[in-house]
Subunit: 503 residues, 2 copies
């Protein structure tokens, strides 16, 4: 048996392990390893083996003839020091690949079959292309609702699960796609001020210009360890933190890393992804927001209703109290897009500033109201009024300040990016269309959410009258390259449509 | 615009371009490039840009802060020297990804849509996971036969096409899966001795222990440039060469690099792959061999018939004279498995050695006979007899020797691997099953086709009577590690089943 010396190759290949062997290495020559072959790397000292995709190296500075290199994640996963003697063998395909082939052939998979796939993926036994095969097979019409339930369960069962020790733990989630939709930072303090437990763990932005965690980070530390989080939640009844520190439905994060570059967003995957994360995070009562609009993820009421039924089917069977609301997704919510600009909008609403964006305030009150109605003591239809009272009285602002203090205040300057450009209306008329996707794209190019001050500030919304040359929105950026990318993209497609009359 | 200096990173990531940026590089920090993002790399001097998947580097020895690294293929594709100033931008997704999504949604694609996908893939605009998405969407029930025709045409039209300047150019192809099935080395000299034009370009082994090109390489040079090939074919009426030097249906090779690790082998892909290669290689008359057996690719006559219809549908519409034969795939053909061992069998047949494997001889005569019947002067049913006359008279042997001489004889020693192990029958009885897949797997582990002498030599076939301890087959290897892998695999599953009586 040929052994090689372990070497850490300082390359981050994201969630895929890559192994590096020199082309002239005796093992490579003898094994007949083939393109994209997966190999199993095992330390002679024992421990779990690591599965990795093989790349061949022609430079001894990267990997010598007697070495086996592992990319950063693979190296960490093996958990052995450099120089450790390792053996390499052909990796046998993961057992559950048979189930992926069953799915490709159009068959339904059982819970145990989804569980097998989930375990193999979480244990890093799948390559990216194997995951892509699984996801595509499941995409679109490929999953019965019973299977979505099975996948949801498997996603929960392959990770940790939080227990807050209370009968009612509320949460909310929007399926996404609408820029500026920063209602969570209003809903959480309103609901917590009412006394409900709302431990909100959010993701960072994946494809959007700002996630809830990115935005909250302008005000407070969101990177809390699980114990801190628990203390804060029990003291303040709420938190707004990043969810990445707990191992909640880890399969979801891995699959997203393949779904996103493929632009896959099938209803089954979406429902399994959202519900598994929320249930693993301990939610008992959940409000789902499905925005509908021509440039939203759901383009028609029919598709939104179909998605709602799927959420309800899986949620009910998982014992979740689930309410789904279908909301207006025809345009961005609020004015600011990007962390600092969105925080400005949120604070204006909390401070009852008369210039606060009315759409953001209304939507937040409606959502908070629906969550408040999970409280058995709140009469159906009274939630909105209670939420408005909490907001108007300043109790929501106080509660957010308490949460910020508990998590640790951040001192991010509240100024938008130093580079600014106003996009002029090409003609006079009425705003008849705002393209959520293009607006989000420009804001991202401008540097959001990496640069907190980058993004867009919208000066006109649907139905507003503009004159030729009026600034439709301002682009803010910190870095010149980003600024130019964003301006160029706005030049190609500004994301606004001007016409004669709106509706 | 930030520019970086081009650097060749001596890593072979196979058919996927990988770009390397240092984590602290100003461009990486500002761009918000995400995991598995694709970037477009363009030289300031012009030329075609290169699309690559991004890996992040934490070691300045691999890629410095002011450098952009490209893996070997990507570097070659850009075609600029190291140090060239390059700009990097977000790659826009290939336009044809929309068609892949259409396919995922279950719709049929037109010729133009397949053409768009084919062009983007051949131009390296697809990542591996995007190709996996396309292939899975097409797999199994996913392709109408009209679409298979469209894909076949697109595969041909995105590559070169040979024209031999004759009205009849014959070829044969087996769908694979049966070890030791080395009939081509017999069929080509028989058919060419009759005067037909048979320019056989073959692949090297992909998942099998030996491809025709690997086996022929024991006797002659198979790596011929297109002009040499043309001269040899016109002089000898035939060749047996490796097809990788011509750009024939290049899409096929790229897709195979993803299909193989996914174990995808859908009928639509198989038909498009085989027919596009053959038509691009200039064949006008083609014999397809579909072996059927419990461990063959086609397990039932029904599935083989369905596949035959698909070959006929596409072949007819492409103007090909196509004959499909369904053959016995219940066990390996011949005795030897691996290049040297298979050549030994082939030479025994050509030399009319009484100990030559009868199965290999019969199958080769049957296939050659069917090809001879493409000749309008050969009466239906007379092909086999003519083929047998050519073989028995020694004219086939002479023809193969002429071809070898024309291609350039090789001096590979005709000895099997130095390490040998006989796998004993676990009990007395009759051989009632031989597992093609397991036998091929063991032969590959033993080192075939990389080590020409490695492989298996089968001593008993289906229906043969054995006593306990009789050597069922001998494993040959050159390298100890391979030898042990093969022995271990045979220990787990020898690939033979012994019972009371066969059929």
């Amino acid at each position: 048996m040929i052994t090689l010396k372990l070497r850490r190759v300082a390359i981050d290949a994201y969630k895929e392990n890559v192994a590096y062997l020199h082309r002239e290495c005796a093992l490579y020559r003898s094994e007949g390893f083939q393109a994209l072959n997966k190999i199993e790397v095992r330390s002679e000292k024992g421990g779990s083996p690591v599965i990795a995709v093989l790349n061949v190296v022609d430079d001894e500075n990267i990997c010598r003839l007697d070495e086996l290199g592992l990319s950063e994640q693979g190296y960490e996963q093996l958990g052995m020091p450099e120089g450790t003697a390792v053996c390499v063998s052909h990796a046998t395909p993961p057992v559950s690949i048979r189930c992926v082939h069953k799915k490709i052939a159009g068959e339904c998979l059982s819970f145990n079959e989804y569980m097998g796939i989930a375990r193999d993926i979480v244990d890093n036994r799948y390559s990216k292309i194997e995951m892509a095969a699984f996801l595509v097979a499941c995409a679109e019409t490929g999953m019965e609702r019973e299977e979505v339930l099975n996948l949801t369960r498997a996603m929960i069962d392959t990770g940790d699960r939080l227990d807050w020790g209370e009968q009612m733990v509320v949460d909310k989630h929007c399926i996404g796609g609408i820029p500026g939709n920063r209602t969570t930072l209003l809903v959480v303090p309103i609901v917590a001020a009412h006394g409900m437990l709302m431990p909100k763990t959010s993701s960072r932005a994946i494809t959007s210009p700002a996630g809830t965690a990115d935005t909250m980070e302008v005000l407070a530390d969101v990177n809390l360890d699980p114990r801190e989080l628990r203390d804060i939640v029990h003291r303040e009844r709420a938190c707004i933190a990043w969810g990445g520190n707990a191992r909640l439905a880890p399969l979801d994060d891995i699959l997203i890393s393949v779904e996103r570059p493929l632009y896959l967003d099938s209803p089954g995957q979406m429902v399994a992804s959202i519900l598994s994360k929320k249930i693993a995070a301990g939610a008992t009562h959940l409000l789902i927001d499905i925005p509908v609009g021509p440039t939203a993820k759901m383009r028609s009421r029919t598709s939104a209703l179909r998605l709602r039924k799927l959420f309800e089917y899986v949620g009910d069977r998982m014992g979740l109290h689930l309410v789904v609301v279908i909301t207006d997704g025809t345009q961005p919510v609020g004015r600011g897009i990007g962390p600092v600009l969105e925080i400005r909008d949120v604070l204006q609403v909390l401070e009852n500033d008369p210039s606060a964006p009315a759409g953001l305030r209304d939507k937040a009150l409606m959502l908070a109201g629906r969550i408040l109605e999970f409280d058995p003591d709140v009469r159906g239809g009274q939630g909105y009024v209670i939420a408005r009272d909490i907001l108007d009285s300043g109790r929501a602002l106080t509660k957010l300040q308490d949460i910020i203090e508990a998590q640790g205040a951040n001192e991010v300057p509240m100024t938008p990016g130093r580079l600014q450009y106003e996009v002029p209306a090409p003609a006079g008329g009425v705003v008849i269309g705002i393209d959520n996707k293009q607006i989000a794209h420009i804001a991202r190019l401008a540097g959001a959410p990496m640069d907190k001050g980058a993004g867009l500030d919208l000066h006109y919304k649907l139905g507003d009258r503009v004159r030729e040359g009026d600034p439709l929105y301002t682009i803010y950026a910190e870095i010149l390259a980003d600024f130019n990318f964003a301006k160029e993209s706005a030049g190609n497609d500004m994301g606004y449509e001007i016409g004669d009359s709106y509706k």
